[in-house]
């Protein structure tokens, strides 16, 4: 059963993603920011990380960079609803700094599950 770590500062988002993935049979752990996410990652390394970009304490891109240094192969999905600026689109930057795939909010359950399925087998985890 793949273990998925979900990092997002919005509790509602965490809850939705957790529900969708658990229905699919995944084991899901949640963290509410990059710092907590890294702590959870080091404590119990998951098979997949889904992380938001704009978060307090530690930004998602920095979290991705740190995780990538700890594990160059682990799949990372970056999700984002865009920044406060109208032209803020961080998903391409997230990809540049190590995200395996990106997903723009809002997304449906099907889109989420498609992306998860596409990265999990390719990682070999």
């Amino acid at each position: 059963m793949p273990r998925i770590l979900v990092i997002d500062d919005e509790s509602g988002i965490r809850s939705v993603i957790q529900t969708v993935l658990q229905r699919e049979g995944h084991s899901v752990r949640c963290a509410n920011d990059g710092k907590a996410g890294l702590a959870a990652f080091e404590q119990n390394k998951p098979d997949l990380v889904i992380t938001d970009i704009i978060m307090p304490e530690k930004e998602g891109i920095e979290t991705i960079q740190t995780i990538r240094k700890l594990d160059p192969l682990i799949p990372i999905i970056a999700i984002s609803g865009g920044g406060r600026a109208a032209n803020a689109d961080f998903l391409p930057l997230a990809a540049k700094f190590g995200a395996t795939a990106t997903l723009a909010k809002p997304f449906g359950a099907a889109a989420l599950l498609d992306v998860v399925r596409s990265v999990l087998p390719a990682s070999g985890h």
Partner: protein, 600 residues
């Protein structure tokens, strides 16, 4: 200079209280033009008045001088002819005595001749004396003991004396002497017999050169023309050009046709009938003699000093005017420059205000979009899950489907709003990065310590970003300041680079709508000691600092990253101990017009 002008302008306006408010309403450039033109006109008017006055005075002075000369020369002529007249009287007295004493005629020998000679020599003006009998035959002449026969009965002076018992002298027209070949002026007296009858004429010949020589001392210095003439216009003596004029008639000239008939003396201006030159002419008819003395001065000679003064004044006036115009031109160009800078400043303020409004709008839109997207996620996700769980032909599934459609509609609306806001922001806050970095480097070079070399590598085609100069300048300055602090007092180097990032990062995963985006990469790299991992972990935390207390509160990098994120970018650090540090700012490249036409 402009602040000094402002002060002077304000003081002048206050001082001239009654028209102070009017002055303050007048545009400065127009004021300067009006004042300059008024100054030039006033100065020119003053110059003209001075020159006109000086001109009038020069002419008046010339008139007075010619009048003074005329008076002096008239007296001279009277003295000369008085002397000649006394010589003639003496000659008559001597003849009468010689006759009484029987020392006359062929038996008298040369006694009469010697007496005439003695009398002639006693007068400087007389070149010859002679006696005639009542028939006009010349009896004796001082020029020769044995003169050739000569009869003067037909000459006007002989007839004047023979026809009249008057004992006044007669001044005749100059005649050409057969002996000397020169023009001589005959001055005659009647010789009366003891019974009062006409006994002949005593003639004294006067050489006009006697007068001309006297006149020369004046004409040369004063550039005058002096003329002694009979009242009928016959020239007796003239200087200069006596030879050409002696004996000639000037009866047609205005002096004799117009002025002399009206007044015995006077001054007038006119064109000379002799040489066509404009002259000032003073004249005087000599009392008791049929003579007129005239002195003329050319107008150009009268105004010679005035011309010199006018040139000197012009040499002062023209540079003054040029200086006035030059100063006014400089002042006007300064005022125009100031006005232009003022307009540019106001335009820039307006653009900045507009950019700030757009940015605020963009932030508002972005913030709302972000929150709405987050809120839509559970709606859309659970709608999908519910639709799968509900029976296909049930109204509940349809209802959930409609909820999903509404959520999608909201998502599309949010995208359109963000696209519109992105276009507006792109139009208002485009910052050319190559120009911005070049400008920033100029000020940074002055602030970086001398032990640090500041180099740059700027890609001229880097493009633009949607940001204001103030936002990026602060971020850059903080990064360079941190780099300089890291290097310390040792020799070091900071490299600033700006290039287009070729990573058009894109995801092809299902559901991803980010699309390819151009980025620019701005880096500040130093060769300092580098950042230990434990410090790098906390570098962007608020209030985290490695500096001494009092040297900073630890908000620089935190704020820098927040600013960059607000601009849709990311601030990244790459550093290892001993290998310096490289801070990179990634920003989305501003869309060109063509990009904006693409679907979002």
């Amino acid at each position: 200079m402009s602040s000094g002008f402002d002060r002077a302008y304000s003081i002048g306006a206050r001082a001239l209280h009654p028209i102070g408010s009017l002055l303050q309403r007048v545009p400065p450039v127009r004021f300067v033009v009006v004042v300059t033109v008024a100054g030039i006109l006033a100065l020119s008017g003053l110059m003209a008045a001075i020159l006109l006055r000086a001109h009038e005075e020069a002419i008046a002075d010339a008139e007075h001088r010619t009048q003074d000369f005329v008076d002096v020369l008239a007296e001279h002529a009277v003295l000369v002819f008085d002397n000649v007249d006394r010589t003639l009287e003496e000659a008559n007295t001597t003849r009468a005595r010689l006759v009484r004493n029987g020392q006359w005629g062929p038996s008298a020998g040369d006694r009469p001749y010697r007496a005439l000679l003695e009398l002639q020599r006693s007068s400087a003006a007389v070149t010859n004396l002679s006696w005639t009998d009542e028939h006009g035959d010349r009896l004796y002449t001082a020029l020769s003991r044995f003169p050739p026969p000569l009869n003067v009965a037909e000459r006007p002076y002989f007839r004047a004396h023979s026809d009249s018992a008057s004992h006044r002298i007669y001044i005749g027209q100059p005649t050409l002497s057969g002996l000397t070949g020169k023009y001589l002026v005959p001055v005659t007296r009647r010789f009366s017999l003891p019974d009062g009858g006409f006994g002949g004429v005593t003639t004294a010949l006067v050489d006009p050169f006697y007068f001309s020589t006297y006149y020369q001392s004046m004409t040369r210095r004063q550039r005058l023309i002096i003329q002694l003439a009979l009242r009928d216009g016959t020239v007796l003596a003239r200087e200069p050009s006596l030879t050409s004029f002696a004996g000639s008639s000037q009866a047609e000239l205005p002096l004799f046709t117009t002025h002399l008939p009206k007044a015995e003396s006077g001054t007038y201006a006119g064109i000379s009938g002799v040489d066509g030159v404009e002259r000032i002419i003073s004249y005087k008819a000599i009392n008791k003699l049929p003579l007129v003395i005239s002195v003329s001065m050319s107008r150009s000679a009268a105004l010679a000093v005035w011309y010199e003064d006018a040139v000197a004044l012009a040499a002062f006036y023209l540079p003054l005017i040029a200086m006035l115009v030059g100063c006014a031109w400089l002042l006007i160009s300064q005022l125009r420059q100031r006005a232009r800078r003022q307009r540019e400043l106001e335009d820039a303020k307006e653009r900045l205000a507009q950019a700030q409004k757009l940015q605020a709008l963009g932030t508002l839109v972005g913030g709302i979009a972000h929150e709405i997207n987050n809120a839509l996620l559970p709606i859309m996700t659970f709608c999908e899950m519910l639709q799968e769980a509900l029976p296909e032909d049930g109204f509940e599934r349809d209802g959930v489907g409609q909820i999903m459609q509404s959520a999608l509609q909201i998502e599309r609306l949010i995208k359109r709003v963000r696209t519109f806001s992105r276009e507006e922001q792109a139009a208002g806050t485009r910052l050319d990065l190559a120009e911005f970095v070049a400008r920033l480097l100029k000020s940074l070079r002055a602030e970086v310590p001398k032990n640090i070399e500041l180099v740059d590598q700027i890609d001229p085609d880097i493009g633009s970003v949607n940001a204001t100069e103030e936002q990026l300048a602060q971020v850059f300055t903080d990064l360079v300041t941190n780099a300089a602090h890291a290097i310390g007092v040792e020799p070091g180097r900071i490299e600033i680079s700006a290039r287009a990032s070729l990573d058009k990062a894109a995801s092809t995963q299902a559901g991803d709508v980010s699309g390819p985006v151009d980025f620019v990469q701005l880096s500040v790299k130093d060769d300092g000691p580098g950042i230990p991992p434990i410090v790098r972990e906390r570098l962007f935390e608020p209030f985290f600092t490695t500096k001494e207390a009092g040297s900073g509160v630890g908000l620089g990098l935190y704020t820098a990253r927040r600013v960059v994120i607000e601009l849709g970018g990311y601030l990244h650090v790459d550093s290892e101990p001993g290998r310096g540090a490289c801070f990179s700012i990634y920003l989305p490249r501003a869309a060109t017009h063509g990009d904006l036409l693409q679907p979002a």
